[in-house]
Symmetry: C2
Subunit: 207 residues, 2 copies
């Protein structure tokens, strides 16, 4: 059984707050506390936790440590997953720098670019490969996720190559909608759309 997308997202968010709690020495947390940290309700939190089949033993709230472990069990892959960044421009560099070392179960281990001046350059310890070596490097390193930050006009072609290379998860930051086979999970973030949406609601606030 797979969880609803929104629940998966919230679990990821909860986990970060929970880890924060652990650091602060907080061992138990109530649903309404966790809700308050994110902007949602206690019921929503309990519903999400119900989905993952965890339940608190005492009425002292959830055991933070246990809950973190259960979430990790759901979200993380045992051995971690390997990730590549495609297109090492402004955004690609920012993302690479940002993610390296951030999540122990998600390792950015390669970047790719067409620009020959970028090949072999190392960003935050991650080496840049030429596109011609895409399939080879993906296979050799069992890379399953690609973050795509190439220019819009290469997006469609690039996505096809990534699928062909064996990628099964794709984060698309270009503002070009992509089509991928059902077995590849696609997440698209369109920053222009987000900004235009903000602008719309600034112009026309919800009463």
């Amino acid at each position: 059984m797979t969880l609803p997308e929104r629940t998966v997202e919230r679990l990821s968010e909860y986990r970060r707050s929970l880890l924060q709690c652990l650091e602060e020495g907080k061992t138990h947390i109530f649903s309404h506390e966790l809700a308050e940290l994110h902007h949602n309700t206690a019921v929503q939190v309990r519903r999400d936790i119900m989905f993952i089949g965890y339940s608190s033993t005492q009425r002292k709230g959830y055991d933070v440590r246990e809950l973190v472990d259960v979430i990790a069990n759901i979200l993380d892959s045992e051995k971690g997953l390997n990730v590549a960044v495609i297109g090492v421009g402004n955004l690609g560099r920012a993302v690479t720098t940002y993610f390296v070392g951030k999540r122990s179960k998600l390792n950015i281990i390669a970047t790719f670019d067409v620009d020959t001046t970028k090949i072999d350059r190392v960003i935050s310890g991650v080496k840049c490969y030429p596109l011609s070596r895409l399939k080879e490097v993906v296979e050799a390193n069992q890379i399953s996720i690609a973050i795509m930050t190439v220019p819009a006009d290469s997006a469609v072609e690039m996505a096809a190559q990534l699928v062909e290379a064996g990628i099964t998860g794709l984060m698309n930051f270009t503002t070009v909608p992509l089509n991928v086979p059902r077995e590849v999970y696609l997440d698209e973030y369109d920053m222009i759309t987000s900004l235009e949406k903000v602008a719309y609601f600034v112009k026309s606030p919800r009463e």
Copy 2:
């Protein structure tokens, strides 16, 4: 009446495809064509277009020019909106560079940072101001939208300052959930969560 969020997003996306069509000299488009360009259905497209009260006169599909204008009327503010980027690090720089000149109705006209070495520096024609001048510059330039790319630990404090300065639309790229008054529209993009979601669905594909 305000439109559903998802409809607003799709309208933004449709518009870009439609502008592309215009460039290619395509004057009319069917709902199923537009649907195919994005990953959704013809009914969804028609439903969205119905929401904005446009209807095609002929059965040659929608008039692209007209539709673009109707969408612009919905999404854009007459005189455009002014935008500031807060925190000119890796991401802030990428975003600023990216957006300048991109959308004529959304003008990035200032950036802000605490780092004194960044003050007065100009990125893509946009000047960086010290935080101490936030309110002044926001008011003087009628900035209504802020894109927040500051480190996580300044996020909450910064959001409060932005609201206080009069911002009514906020895009939050920090991975810290924020609370803002109802009258401020908040859009949060949590890249870690997105990546973890992709990882989850790579690990546990849907059915």
